[in-house]
């Protein structure tokens, strides 16, 4: 389990979300959007940014190099529901 600080674009606060090493970046992104869902409408095509890099959605959390208590950002894609 990897607790991270997650920030969703358009949101007002940082959240702590638990990721798993084998989880895909796409799933991690959706998990973060879900955590902020009460305030921010989840958008399509969102990307996860870690240490200034946009992560590939098919990578796993561990392959992307995300470590405990890192900051990750969900940045909006073009579309939003």
């Amino acid at each position: 389990m990897i607790p991270v600080y997650g920030f969703v674009e358009g949101d007002t606060l940082g959240l702590v979300v638990i990721l798993h090493e084998s989880e895909s970046i796409a799933d991690a992104t959706a998990k973060l959007q879900q955590a902020a869902d009460v305030r921010v409408t989840p958008g399509d095509g969102a990307v996860l940014v870690h240490r200034g890099r946009v992560l590939q959605p098919k990578l796993t959390v561990s392959a992307a190099g995300i470590e405990a208590l890192d900051r990750v950002d969900v940045r909006n894609g073009r579309g939003s529901r």
Binding site: G14, L15, A36, V38, R39
Partner: protein, 492 residues
């Protein structure tokens, strides 16, 4: 009988020549403060009020009599019931965060009364300590009446004794500011920055709104308190001037540190009250406009007069003035069950007002409130938790408040390795302050670290009940249960 002029200065500036101990032993640097200067450097210290003890007692008795008279006339439960229920939540926030903080300020003032380096400073600080007792007792007395009406008012006394997340943040500030500071740092931090720069916002700005709202009891209470604050706040400037003369870099560092820390507290306590919990028709100015008058204009002029610069993070502060309390209010609204007062969704008219007052930032908050409207529209009636966050919230390792720095498009939180641990800070000023005094702050655990260490429950309801000290009768709700005319839930 002696005339006042024959004895007042002698009594106020009573001092003696030490013979059994040295000056450094009588006023050790740990308690008296840095820079340690010989008594000759403090000989000219003075403050403008020059109150004698007799005058103090007479004046305070008259002020107390006036508060009692107003309480007897308009402080009964039936009077409070006439006050707008939204406004009462500003009162709960004020009462919890400030009443017992005033009690802690007794200790800080007493440190000045014993270790202040000038006799006139010690005299003024003795009266300051007595003032702060009064500032604790008045709200505890006046608001006790409201307990019969609303159990959330129990938090007037309970707040600082709890592990509620706001209380953890407030204690982190107040313990250092009022209990842990030496006499010099206390005088600069509390009297100069906190009381000169910021309490005017709460005690003058908010009391004028209380007048407009028709809450004459609150207005009288805080006006009476402010008259004391105005006097003992005068201790700060002459202490600051002495430190500027001896060590200007230290003076600047102390002002920078305490301005930022005080700002975050008042942005929440006063920002919420002025821009969200005061009924729109009674708002005369926005929180930002009050800050511009009382802080940016007056405080900066004073800083300039004593030869100091505005704090190094001034551009961050100005951005924060546009955003921070909006960020925290929207966040806290969606975690309202974690606090002891109720919230409201700003109406379309209020949002239009906020847009005119915050033209550079408000548009970023509009989608959030539309989302919250949408969530209420879909929610079952009477299910307050349907529009509520469930994820764990992150907290800043310095201020212990939620990570609400920056803007919705770019949160300013910073992760950094400091003092051997990965830590997170809501902003660059918080990171910098932590770095400067790592040994002071390193051992403190924020709420998340307490949860991860198994010291606090991860489950939200268990956290609220067993750790934050709230229950179904006291935790915050949407005051109207999400039932707002513009949301139109009943059409479904």
């Amino acid at each position: 009988m002696l005339r006042r002029t024959d004895w007042a200065e002698f009594a106020r500036k009573l001092d003696w020549t030490l013979s059994y101990v040295t000056e450094r032993e009588a006023f050790p640097e740990e308690a008296a403060g840095t820079p340690w200067l010989p008594s000759s450097a403090w000989a000219a210290w003075d403050e403008p009020y020059r109150t004698t003890y007799g005058e103090y007692v007479e004046g305070q008795a008259a002020k107390d009599a006036a508060v009692y008279a107003v309480r007897d006339a308009i402080g009964r439960l039936e009077d409070w019931k006439k006050v707008d229920p939204v406004w009462l939540n500003a009162l709960k926030l004020h009462a919890a965060t400030l009443s017992l903080a005033e009690f802690a300020a007794v200790i800080g003032n007493l440190r000045g009364a014993r270790f202040g380096r000038a006799s006139a400073w010690r005299t003024a600080a003795t009266m300051g300590a007595l003032d702060e007792f009064r500032h604790t007792q008045i709200p505890l007395l006046v608001l006790h009446e409201l307990l019969r009406h609303d159990p959330q008012f129990d938090w007037t006394h309970r707040f600082y004794h709890s592990n509620n997340w706001v209380a953890i943040a407030a204690r982190h500030l107040v313990d250092e500011l009022l209990l842990g500071s030496n006499a010099i740092e206390f005088a600069i931090a509390t009297h100069f920055v906190f009381e000169t720069g910021f309490t005017n916002l709460q005690f003058i700005g908010l009391s004028s709104l209380a007048h407009d709202v028709g809450d004459r009891m609150f207005e009288k209470m805080v006006t009476s308190i402010q008259s004391d604050e105005a006097r003992h706040a005068q201790i700060g400037r002459p202490v600051l001037e002495a430190v500027v003369a001896a060590d200007p870099a230290l003076a600047q560092r102390l002002v920078d540190k305490w301005f930022w820390r005080s700002w975050l507290l008042f942005a929440v306590v006063t920002g919420f009250a002025m821009d969200y919990l005061t009924p729109l028709d009674h708002r005369t100015r926005s929180f930002k406009e009050f800050v511009e008058e009382w802080v940016i204009d007056q405080f900066l002029r004073t800083l300039n007069a004593v030869g100091l610069e505005k704090p190094w993070y001034w551009s961050t502060f100005l951005e924060s003035l546009e955003n921070y309390h909006h960020m925290v209010y929207a966040s806290a609204y969606t975690y309202r069950s974690s606090v002891w007062f109720d919230f409201v969704v700003p109406s379309p008219r209020e949002r239009a007002w906020l847009r005119t007052k915050y033209p550079r930032s408000w548009d970023a908050y509009e989608p959030l409130w539309r989302r919250i409207d949408e969530r209420w529209r879909e929610a079952d009636v009477d299910n307050d938790f349907a529009v509520h966050g469930t994820a764990i919230v992150g907290f800043c390792d310095l201020c212990q408040l939620v990570l609400c720095g920056g803007t919705p498009s770019r949160n300013s939180a910073i992760v950094a390795n400091v003092a051997g641990q990965k830590r997170i800070f809501c902003s660059e000023p918080c990171r910098s302050l932590f770095e400067q005094e790592k040994e002071r702050y390193a051992a403190h655990k924020d709420v998340v670290k307490r949860v991860l260490a198994g010291e606090a429950p991860a489950n939200l309801i268990a956290l609220l009940r067993s750790y934050f000290g709230l229950d179904h009768s006291t935790w915050g709700r949407d005051l109207f249960g999400g039932d707002y005319p513009w949301i139109d839930r009943r059409r479904r």
